[in-house]
Each structure stands twice: as C-alpha cells, then as structure tokens.
Symmetry: D2
Subunit: 264 residues, 4 copies
C-alpha cells in the first residue's frame, strides 16, 4: 500500500504540531499518600512536521501510548517524548494529559474522611535544540475553594456573599513537586477549603473560617504567588482565580504570572 | 435521482422521532417590555416516521424554518408544526428551541440599569389523535439567583455560606404566560436575585437581603411551586433548583413536579 | 446544634427529588473480560421528601456512598438504595451514575489491540409501593461508530459522506445484560465500528466496510431495535442515533422506543 | 462606605489581569453584506493592577460596556480599551469577545439560500509602553468544513472516510480584514464547505467535490497558511484544523503559526 503521508510537500511550510487530540485513556498516576491511583485521562500528543513531509502517521501516537500503558510519571513522560522523537523522526514532541485526581481529606472538626476531586494536568515537550535536548514540563492543578468577598463583609450589617471558586496553579520546576503540594497551597490561601463530606460541626467551622478570612480573587492569587515565589524549586508560575460570584451570573477573575530571574 | 429515503422498510418498527438537532439559528422572540428581541437559538425539529418508510428528508426541516425566518412566537410555532405535519405527511411534529434571553433590570438601591441573561426554551409538539390535533407546549426558564443556607446561618456565629444557583421552571399553560413572569417568580422566591451591574449600596442591600432570607434548595422549589399552584393559567409545572454549593465541589438539588387535577 | 432540616414545613408540597448532583467519585465496575475495571464516575443521589419536612441532610448521601466505596454493581446498587431509604426514612431513592468505560478491541485485519472508550450509565431507583419494593434500573451505553449516508452514495459517482455518530442504547431488563453486549449490538449494526488504533490494512477494511453498508440514522436505530425486540431479557428499550453530519454543522437524529407488552 | 478595593497592598506582586469573565451580552457586529448583525457575545474584560492596590472595582467593567451598548467594531474596541485605561487608571486593558456569526450562503447547484453559523472572536488589548499606546488585536474564526482522508481514498477500492472538521484561523493585521474573508479562505481550502440547507443535487456535488479533493489536517492548515502568507495585510497568523475523525473517537489535529518578519 502506498504511504501517502510520506509524500513530498513543496509548500515550504513547516507544521509546529500534528497529532491526536482528546483521546480518552485509563492511566495510573503517582500519588504521595498511596503510591499510585487509577484515573481516566484525556491525552493529546503532537510532533512537529518538517516542511517537506505531507503528513503524520496518526496510529503511531496510540502505539507509543500503548507501550507505556499503565503508568504516567515524570520519568515515563520523558521516555514517551523520546520515543515520539524517535518514531516520528521529529525535532519536537508534545505530550499533554489532563485527568481528575483524588485526595482523601479529613473534615476539620468531625475528622470524617472523604475523597475530594481536583482537575490536574501535565503539559510536557521535548525539543532538540542545537544538539541538546530541551525538556519542558508544566504541572497544573485546578482547586475548588470557598471565597468570601471583603467588600461585601465590610459594608454589610451581617453576612457576606461567598462562592465556589477555582484556583488554577501552573508551575515549571527544577525539582520534584507533588500535585498534592500545589493543592494544599491553594486550599491554604483561600477563604476556606471545600470538602465532599462535612458534618454540622464542620459546616459551622468552615462558615466562620471563611467569614473571618475575606479575600478578593486578587488577594488569593497574590497569596499563592507569594508562596510559589519563596519556593526554590519553582522557576515559573501562573496563578488564576475564577470566582463563580453568587451575586452575579458572570465570574470574577484574577491572574498573576512570574518567571523567576534565576530561571536561566 | 433516486429518492432513497422514500424506499419501503419492512422491519415493522415505527420511529418516534427523526430529524435535525442543534441547528444554530438567529431568531426574534416576543419581549414583554420591548415587543421583540433578537437572539441566537439552538433548534431541534423532529417528526415521527411510519414503519414502512426508510428515511426522512432532512433538508425539509431547514426549509420550513427558513419560511418562518424572523419571528418565533406561540402562534408561529403552531404554524411551523402544522407545516411540518404537512410537508412530512406525519402524525406528530416536534419543535424545540433554546436561547439566551435578556431583561433590563434595575439595581435595587442605585437604580443602575443593566441587562441580565436567562436561559429560555420552548418545547412544542403537535399530534394527530383520532382526527383531532393535540398541541403541547412547555415553556422553560433557567434563572440564576443567590441562595443562602439556613443551616449554616443557624449554627454559625457570623456569616452563612451562599452560592449562585439556577432555578429551572417549566410550565404547561392554558393561557399566555410571559417568560418574564416565570423569571420574576423565581427571582422573587430565592434568597436574593442576581444582577450584572450593582454598586456598593446594592451589594450591601443584596448581601443583607440574602442573609435575612435563608433558604434550602427544597424551600425555593416549594415556594415557586406554591406560586404556580395558585396560578389558574398553569396546568402543569416542574421546578428544579441546583445550588452550586460554595462549601462543596458538587451541587445540591431539589425538584418538585405537579400536574393539576383540573388539567383534563 | 439545631437540626434546621428537620423543621416542620406547612406548605403541603411533597418534593419528588432532593439530593446531590454530579459528585465526582472513583468507582470499580464489573467488567465481562477482566472481572472489574477502575473508572471515575459522576454520581447523583436523590430521595423524596414528605410535605411536612423542611430539608434533607446532604452529608448522608456521601456517607452512604463512602460505605460502599469500592464496588458498583447491580447488587451493590440495590443495597445502596435500601440504605438510602433507611437513612432518609423515605419512600423513593434514586441513584444515577455515569462513567467512561473501556473495552480492549482488536483491529479487524492487523489484530492490533487497543482500548476503546464508551460512555456508560446506570440509572436506578427503589420505591415503596403499597408495602412492596419496586426496583427500577436503566442501563445506558453511548457508542461512537461510523455512519455512511445511503442517499449520498446512491446519487454520487464516487464516494459518500460519512461521519462519527453516537448510538445511545437504554434498556430495562429482567436478567443480567452486560454493557459489553449492548456495545457490541450497536457496533454490529452501524456502517462500521470505530477503534482507537488501526493500521493501514484496517483503514482499508473499515473504509470499504462502511461504503458497503450505507445506513441512515433511522436505519441503525431500527436495526438495533430489532435486536433488542428479539432479546427476551429486555423489557423496554430506547435507541438514539446522533450523526455529526460531515456535510452540515448540525446533527441528524433518530429515536425509537418500545415497552414490550409482556413487561407487566 | 469604605472602599476596600482601594486599600494598600504590601505584597509587591503586580497582577497582570483582574476583571470579569464570560458575561453574556447582546451585541451588534459589522457585517460585510448587511452592514450589521445582532448576536449574543460572551465578554471578558481585564486590567492590570499595580502591586500597591488591593483590588479592582468589578462593576466598572459592566458600566464601560453599557456605555458602548449597541455596537462592537474595531473602532469601538479601541475606544472601550481607552475608556478602561482611564476608568481604572491602569497600564494595560484587555477586551475579549466571542460570538456566533452568520453568513447567508447559496447551495452550490440548487442555489438554495440558508444561514450558516461560525464561531468568531475578537481578542484585543491596549498597553501603555514608554509613553506610547500599543494596540493589539487578534481576529479569530472557527469554520466547520468537510475533510476527506487521502490515505483512506488511496488504499480503498471505493469510498473514503470523511468527517466534520473545524478550521480555526487567527490573524493579526495591519489593515481591515473581514471575518467573511477568513471564513471564505478556510472553506475554499477544505475538501468541501458545509451548508445548513442542501438539496440532492448539492449533496451529489459536495460528495464528489470532497472525494476529488482529499486532504489531511496537515494539508489544509498549510493551504490556509499559504493564502495568509501571501496576504500583505496579515502580520501574524495561526491556523488549526481539528478533524472529528469518523473512524476514531478522538480527533486529528494540525497547527501552523507564523509571525512575518516584516511585522516590526
């Protein structure tokens, strides 16, 4: 059979990314507490395509993924990217994976345990640059929290509007950082953390905690940024907070991003 | 050209719905305040298919819609359904349309005006039944509101968790009911309404109003149901409240439905 | 602390469903081939609420779920529903669960193995009715397939438009039916099945298979219905096909539903 | 009332973006054929916040939008951004707007007219940089098309798999470019355009046209890029194609991006 993808292309346009997007795939990811956990990922894999080749062989992406079936870790991902460079004879390989991730949390007073879900991602690439390999990796966590408005509290006789918010933290690091650490930073800097199971004593505690810790979206991204700025392992960070305002049908948003000057 | 759809089918299986789904289409809907407003709808149109016909002519749905291009109202929809019965030689025609709908609202204290968006729908069908035509029509509104938790308020020294919620009201009526009326009922029975533009005096007012009107999801669906039960024009209603809990990453939900006994 | 939810309500409006919606939770479901598989579910749990009670204790739903942590099967679900009736002192309990489900499939010619994902759900309820318990359970599978248009093939000199479609099958049964069986019926009646990994020999095979098996959305729902009508274990079925038309930006849709007369 | 947002913040962390996200708002956009069309937009507006200010006044964004109520055009957007800089005393203002956009198209043979919907966006910012104002604006169109696989056609005896794809084109320009122009480029370079209404003669024409014009995702992004590279008005472009593969449940993807060297 003719290999159409291997045909010559004369348009002189290199393609930065060609590949597969949003393949659903079961994975096992490293877990600080239980060593590993099973989850379901949405996987995207891309390679660059030199200007003289017509197309990419899409089946090879899934073959590479199948070889590594089972475990996704930082080490595995570098290996996957190397295999992609090799199989596709390309300069740059991209591997993006996004999955729900669970932590067992204890309610603050009753100590009832339950599973809390977070939205995590690993966005990685490997690029040949003048003979050396440049590996890039972004860890991302999406952390649901409670945010209580300082303005509403200040001006009102009683109460204050509050809402579910999602804090998204993305980091590049020069050393191991667990998803759990980023999650704990985000939860620790919000008005209050959220849980999937709380009893009345916890609800009292969390209501009062949030009321005593009013924060704007701007405050929480600064507080998380302050923590990441002080962390020597973190070279770059981006922090977003999106508050699903209980007094509006649109969201309040704040974002701060910093590339540390020592990151060279 | 051969008309494949008109072929004979011998499997003896009538099809309840065949048609098109989620066509995006600009429409003009009736508006209590301004007579009409332009919006963008997602339209689905189906007919039943007798067991002996192979397929439906999908292009005819869009032709019917094009003829009525411009206005969508209760009268238009009955006419669209009649045209569908005629063009498709069918017993039952379905026309479902879903669109964002806007009302100009005044903030409660500052009187600042702004546009508030709601998610509205009309779900209609016309069925030949023993020689007579049975028209069925459901009006639906999705209304974002503030809901404040009575339990959290009762047990906490200060504050109370609250959140954005969506109240969905569906009704069958024997007389004209405006979307605006259903929206106002839902907003009136929630802990507080939401606005797209409020000033500090309004934020104080709304924070205190919600704090003074704590309601469970169960309370608000009962309150809305009480209003609809008393409305002679309403033959059937379904009321849902989905609270995007600020203390959880999952939602609290309540639903009540009633078909009035006089609806025969 | 005061139990606000237990307060008396005098509005005389019973609530059909009160509970939690869209809780993310890891589950283990039965698997015909491997006994079990780990996946991530979206869980909703509701109970009815008599007219004289103000509210439901939302934390109890998650407690019930935690007790059964680990396994979700038909037997487990009945047990969960019984526990819900007991804990909430209610008449009716609902348990709805939706999750991605994977099967290992072999490509038709190369025999390459890969994992294919399907969207599955179990929608169950248990209701006390005049002293006896009525258990209701719907199995649902969403199966992506290839559909090729008979009209386009018939009238064109070469080629035929085809597209990804999703066939949704829902059944009530009086005996064990595996998700895998419903998936295989849907894949077997489409123009062709889809795979996550195929080689060129498979692509040739599947392209020709689809071209030789042109079907309307109406055809495939009838074909699946014919199979389910003949299956003695199935009491009720609903079959939908939604074709993501490659020649339109809207979808073609067909639905057939039948409650068998022996289902009394 | 105390102006909490105006408080001093001592954390020395400037915020790149603070504002509102996903506000639904009716807009009127310029239309090449009919001068203007009404549609519904999702609007996000952000400003930067110096390190010494605690928060942003969220209501001012909606006030700015309300003043410009009615028309959204390139000129209006620069004006909105200037007003934002002024009202918020900020260096950088962002205005992002996303909306369905319609064009009336004629079917290729029958000449039947119908409305086709596209997903359009304008992403704009204005930044004070050493005393001068830097205006940046990206136009984006999402264009549904038919794509037919060259490999499948080459290796199969008859037929070829094809699917709905979305081509996304983003450009920065130094002169007026209409959304309609970008849409026409994308439709012209795909295997075939799609329509909301076609008759059998058109279906024959489009089926054969696609079969005679097989293209990979990689081909179509190169073809569109070639057109944009030759257009003197375009300084930068990014072209994506995402094919909703009819033989897979995941998508094929290609992306090419170029900043022209004359763009200084």
């Amino acid at each position: 059979m003719k290999d159409v993808q291997n045909s010559y292309d004369d348009r002189k346009i290199p393609i930065q990314k060609a590949g597969i997007k949003d393949l659903q795939y079961p994975v096992v990811v490293l877990d600080r507490q239980n060593k590993s956990q099973s989850t379901i990922a949405s996987v995207s894999m891309y390679v660059d395509l030199p200007h003289n080749f017509k197309g990419t062989h899409m089946s090879r992406f899934v073959e590479v993924l199948n070889v590594h079936r089972g475990r996704i870790s930082v080490e595995e991902i570098e290996d996957i990217l190397l295999t992609m460079q090799d199989r596709f004879e390309c300069e740059t390989a991209h591997f993006d994976i996004r999955f729900p991730y669970f932590m067992e949390k204890e309610a603050p007073v009753s100590r009832e345990k339950s599973l809390m879900n977070y939205s995590c991602a690993l966005l990685a690439s490997l690029k040949k640059d003048d003979g050396r390999q440049v590996f890039d990796r972004v860890l991302e966590v999406g952390v649901p929290v409670t945010m209580l408005c300082p303005c509403s509290k200040e001006i009102s006789e009683a109460g204050a509007h509050n809402q579910r918010s999602v804090i998204t933290v993305r980091v590049r690091t020069n050393d191991l950082v667990w998803f759990e650490e980023l999650i704990e930073i985000a939860e620790g800097e919000a008005s209050a953390p959220v849980f999937s199971l709380i009893k009345r004593v916890d609800e009292k505690y969390l209501t009062e905690a949030a009321y005593n810790n009013p924060l704007f979206a701007e405050d929480v991204v600064r507080a998380v940024a302050t923590r990441l700025r002080a962390d020597q392992r973190v070279c770059w960070y981006q922090v977003e907070s999106e508050n699903e305002e209980s007094i509006h049908n649109h969201n309040a948003y704040a974002m701060v991003e910093e590339k540390k000057t020592n990151d060279e």
